[in-house]
Point group: C2
Chain length 399, copies 2
């Protein structure tokens, strides 16, 4: 029997407890698994196993029989200190904490390697969608060229309401909050920070060097209007919050709303669903789709990592290593290339004098013209629009 | 340095050679990998490594240093005899051969377990789409309720041509053959046999009991007409060849063309792409999408399995076991439940007297009515339509 502890009995932690309690995973893990400790500062006097709760982290750290710990506390502190102590003690840790992985990943992974234990985090990106492990194993034979994802369910729900139900941003956000899809303070989601951390983790895995989320240009969806949605539709696109990363000589990564071609596989991903497109040099385009959040989807990914760790209890652990990135590893956004959707109050003539072969959409807003440019660097683009009276621009993702 | 052999230097086998030759996977496999033998009955006098070719299987079987063998011959014989001998000798085998896995899987997996070696077959389903490993690992914490997939690229290409370009079946098939997406003898694809074997493999993995492909009711797409495509469109569906499997008390599996709701994630999967929806009890709906065939997508999955096997060279191998199924494990198709699209020459009145709440589409074919029934067992459905003059029916997959 293998002892497992849970740190934090919130939404995900209680889901992990319930899944392990309600199922027998002996066959999958090759050993019976038992939750023997749950750390939480709160009391749970009505809980059927109230005796396994503790407020003292040392009860877990110092129990030599605890083999694996699920960290489902979230936040950086004390999750970081706890995780570090556990790994240094030679315990396996699995987590859903994207903030921690995106911030302290390289250090924690190095300790895990050194101690021959697992630090696994399938649940940190895409909830229950299997994406971390396929990138670490099945796609191992490919050089990954590009990652393009809808990585945040809250913003995708809001945008879907705007697109399909013609609600404006504020109304759609309120609806998301009422449905439990957005926090009362929604800024981590709607400003793109949550997607940014997930993109940093995926990029680090894809290219083996640590991509610091602080180096990723990040824009949220708060400025998106129903007029933008209409322009997009007229031109054959839908607006999505897209995490985009690619590697050529340098790595480039960006989180921003984009016009996504209706022919691109991500265009049909609606509501709280997430999806991640991975482009490999041999495989071509593949996509992973599913529920990106929620108690049981996320908890089931944590449990799969527990099973994985227990299954290889006496084996050499497969490890992930994120080497430090050299200064200047990230392409400057001004050197990145794409098409741009632009709104302005200038004449067609003025626009044509600056942009060749622009694709126009008229009649959405009075005295305003919307158009899509050809491909160019963001630096060139920003230089060109200086002479226009631009009311907004959104980057474009082609099929 | 770990020695690897390839059986069969066809499309996939040569792709495996090229990928390993052109890349250094030492970091991923924790050991350098070298192809030391290629078995093929043909001569390759121009090949830069012509000395590693052999026509004698025993050269590979009896070389104790050959650790892993990629079987990319296809067909049942001698692939079966070769694979069995290799596993019995304690060699790891990875394969893209769905026919072999679907036919002799239980026996070969049992030998692999017994000898503590891998028998891996990611490439046998969905080409390069990572699906087998996620089902074996990431989804381990879920009970899988249902698998619904577009499992064959040839038929999906043909149907997409019919839907988007209004070509009839014969013309679309010809086009597929001209583009290299269909064999000169296309029956394994268009009759559904290829999809059937893949569905058998996925079902066996999902439920741990061997699902024999011979127990899966299989219909191809040869009877699908442009009128069917039009009926589908009018009613809000597209026609796809669907592999469908679910487990309630019994397992039920079927390959057939279906009306797929335009709101279902598979509806947008076009051309040669494949996609597999997996429904887990905790995860909900997830989908895996990508190129289901082709030299390099498939070969890259074979190479990923080689790396996986080499990576755990001295470890206890994770094994898959397919227990024999009890007689009667498969639900009779007459007890399966779905909605049906029906074409007939009867009056609305006659139809209404048999089917409550049918949804009608008129005006596609003169003197013919198309309608979709409510949910019912196939047995009841077939009984009811006996009194109609039915010109065809197609099962329906709702969102």
């Amino acid at each position: 029997m293998v002892k497992v502890a849970i740190l934090g009995y919130g939404t995900v932690g209680s889901g992990v407890y319930e899944i392990i309690h309600d199922n027998d995973f002996t066959e999958q893990a090759l050993n019976p698994i038992k939750i023997t400790h749950i750390l939480d500062i709160r009391d749970f006097p009505e809980h059927p196993e109230k005796d396994i709760f503790t407020k003292n982290f040392d009860d877990i750290l110092n129990d030599d029989e605890v083999y694996c710990v699920a960290e489902t506390m979230g936040g950086l502190h004390p999750a970081y200190e706890f995780t570090k102590s556990l790994l240094e003690k030679g315990k396996n840790v699995v987590t859903s904490n994207k903030e921690l992985v995106a911030t302290y990943g390289p250090e924690l992974l190095a300790i895990a390697k050194d101690k021959n234990v697992n630090y696994l985090f399938e649940a940190s990106v895409g909830g229950g969608i299997p994406i971390i492990k396929p990138m670490c194993s099945s796609l191992m034979s490919n050089k990954i060229d590009k990652i393009v994802g809808i990585l945040n369910g809250t913003t995708n729900f809001i945008l879907t309401e705007m697109i399909n139900k013609n609600k404006d941003f504020d109304e759609a956000l309120k609806n998301a909050q009422e449905n439990g899809y957005a926090e009362r303070n929604p800024s981590a989601d709607i400003e793109g920070h949550d997607a940014c951390r997930k993109l940093a983790i995926l990029s680090s895995i894809a290219w083996g060097n640590f991509v610091d989320y602080r180096d990723i240009v990040t824009e949220g969806i708060t400025a998106i209007s129903l007029e933008d949605v209409k322009y997009a539709d007229k031109l054959g696109y839908v607006i999505k919050l897209i995490g985009f990363a690619e590697k050529k000589q340098k790595i480039f990564a960006r989180v921003s709303p984009m016009f996504v071609s209706k022919k691109y596989p991500l265009a049909g991903v609606e509501s709280v669903f997430n999806a991640i497109v991975v482009k490999g040099n041999y495989l071509g385009t593949s996509m992973f789709y599913g529920r990106g959040a929620g108690k049981f989807p996320t908890a089931s990914a944590v449990v799969a990592d527990i099973i994985e760790s227990v299954r290889h209890i006496n084996a050499k652990k497969a490890y992930i290593e994120w080497k430090p990135s050299e200064p200047g590893y990230m392409l400057d956004i001004n050197e990145s290339v794409c098409k741009y959707f632009v709104k302005c109050t200038n004449s067609r003539e003025q626009i044509d004098s600056l942009f060749d072969n622009a694709e126009f959409a008229d009649g959405v807003v009075e005295n305003e013209t919307g158009f899509i440019t050809t491909q160019m660097t963001e630096g060139d683009f920003k230089e060109k629009i200086k002479s226009l009276n631009v009311t907004g621009f959104i980057r474009v993702l082609e099929a």
